[in-house]
């Protein structure tokens, strides 16, 4: 198996002329990285993730995933490798039951029905929601929906996991549950969030973004403890660290 990595060079993106949402990003991610993409609202975190999977198209720069450039004709191949968990579980889960939803991707990739069933069971098991398999989606709680969304992605057995604000609207218990599940997934993962406590618990590397630029990139230990840096870019120290200090 080839070495999993993402290489991004000089990436720029804007919705309309003049206002640059992302401005000349250059960064690489490697196999066992657990990267927290942090930044205040509007820093360009979500757009950055969407560019990586080709949901938006950059005006300049290049993205390569395992040496494959992200462009229109490579998208199906790239999207097989990358799982993307959206912020809103309600749009992520569009089938009627959890099992059907988790089976959606494997079925779309034309796997035989017994393999689909195996993948579904495994994905549900990974996020510990086997008991919810036949529950209709509209009856799940917010936390259950988030876990189910992750299962729908894990059933694709992705090499890379991207998550957009995963901790939003989770109660403490579900949050803890989600943290331990994410820590079990040891491939490359990128988590965009301004919930720094969550990043502290799940990531070993942090990329700090502000106004479309990367302003810091380094070990989570360093950046998340740097109060001056964080406040300068509209963030605050993780609560767990303030208490400890």
């Amino acid at each position: 198996m080839s070495h999993i990595h993402i290489d991004i060079t000089d990436l720029s993106f804007s919705y309309e002329e003049g206002s640059r949402l992302l401005d000349g990003l250059t960064v690489s991610f490697h196999e066992h990285d657990a990267v927290g993409i942090i930044g205040a609202n509007g820093a360009g975190k979500s757009t950055f993730l969407k560019l990586i999977v080709g949901l938006e198209t950059a005006q300049a720069g290049s993205i390569r995933i395992e040496e494959i450039p992200v462009e229109k004709k490579t998208l199906p191949k790239i999207r097989e490798k990358i799982g993307y968990v959206f912020q809103d579980s309600e749009t992520q889960l569009f089938m009627t039951t959890v099992r059907e939803d988790v089976a959606f991707a494997p079925r779309n990739y034309s796997l035989p029905e017994d393999e689909v069933a195996r993948r579904v069971d495994r994905a549900l098991d990974l996020v510990h929601i086997t008991h919810l398999a036949d529950k209709p989606v509209h009856k799940l709680s917010g936390g259950e929906k988030k876990l189910a969304s992750i299962a729908t992605i894990l059933s694709m057995t992705p090499d890379i996991l991207l998550m957009d604000e995963p901790s939003i609207a989770l109660d403490p218990r579900n949050r803890k549950n989600l943290i331990s599940i994410l820590n079990e997934f040891d491939h490359l993962k990128l988590i965009a969030s301004h919930d720094l406590d969550f990043i502290w618990d799940t990531c070993n590397r942090v990329v700090l973004m502000d106004q479309g630029k990367i302003v810091a990139d380094g070990p989570a230990e360093e950046i998340l403890r740097d109060e001056a840096l964080l406040t300068a870019h509209g963030l605050e120290l993780p609560l767990s660290l303030t208490r400890r200090v």
């Binding site: 949901l55 749009t91 569009f94 039951t97 079925r107 779309n108």
Partner: protein, 266 residues
């Protein structure tokens, strides 16, 4: 309780029923769909005056409700929409058609009374029959059956998504009208000035949601029309169900069964 939350609730209730694990729920959706359609065609095909024939058709819903353990209460609740309309259409029949047709126990029934009664019985039976289908078959199974009947993938996937998002949008509409009502006490509905923005906002949000939904589907290999829900194979027992009911229903339609029973006594 508001109309909106009422609708959401009754849909959720049906969904819950359909997901129970009973033998009727386990029958293949295609068999149930075909039997339902055949039943509807046969029940409706009785001519207006053939009241006893129509009454005979009651056997199917009655038996299945009993065996399937479904309550008539939920089904009868649905009649509140159908019965008034049907009655309205039939209520004048006794005035227009006064020809005496039959005297039973000293009461003379005119053609109009017979046609009115048979229309109502038809109304009740057809509603019961469709209820039997949807109360024992979850949405995705209905979709599977439609696919097997070669209904185009666009329509089936769209139907599935409508069913999935009806509850989401009903909740949204409910919140919006509640927020409106809190700021406009004493109003019965939405005032004219807010008509456009109210529904318009809901529409824009729905379009945005659809956009996000498409992205999420693309990320999981969606390529357009391909059906992506489970389609069970027909088992022998499903075929038996289909064949037995078809035969029974056709017999009920061809032979005046009730009359034969009655003749033993009269």
């Amino acid at each position: 309780m508001s109309r909106i939350s009422n609708a959401a609730r009754s849909m959720a209730k049906l969904d819950e029923l359909a997901r129970q694990d009973t033998w009727l729920n386990r029958i293949h959706p295609l068999s149930k769909l075909l039997v339902t359609l055949l039943y509807l065609i046969l029940a409706v095909s009785w001519k207006p005056r053939q009241l006893t024939g129509i009454l005979g058709m009651a056997l199917y819903p009655f038996l299945l409700f009993e065996i399937g353990g479904l309550s008539f209460k939920g089904a009868l609740y649905r009649l509140r929409i159908v019965l008034p309309v049907v009655c309205l259409v039939g209520i004048l029949n006794p005035f227009f058609d006064r020809e005496p047709v039959l005297t039973v126990f000293g009461v003379t029934l005119s053609g109009g009374v017979l046609t009115m009664l048979s229309l109502m019985v038809k109304g009740i039976l057809t509603v019961l029959a469709s209820y039997l289908l949807i109360a024992t078959t979850p949405v995705e199974s209905v979709c599977g059956a439609l696919s097997m009947l070669h209904v185009p993938g666009i329509l089936v996937t769209e139907f599935l998504l409508i069913c999935r998002y009806v509850s989401v949008l009903l909740n949204e509409a409910d919140r919006m009208t509640q927020a409106y009502a809190l700021r406009a006490p004493g109003q019965k509905g939405i005032a004219r000035i807010a008509w456009g923005s109210m529904i318009g906002q809901l529409l824009l949000r729905s379009m945005d949601r659809a956009g996000a939904l498409y992205q999420s589907m693309c990320m999981r290999g969606f390529q357009g029309e391909k059906p992506c829900f489970s389609m069970k194979r027909l088992r022998a027992s499903d075929l038996v169900y289909l064949v037995i009911w078809s035969v029974v229903l056709i017999l009920l339609r061809v032979f005046p069964v009730l009359e034969l029973v009655g003749r033993l006594f009269v």
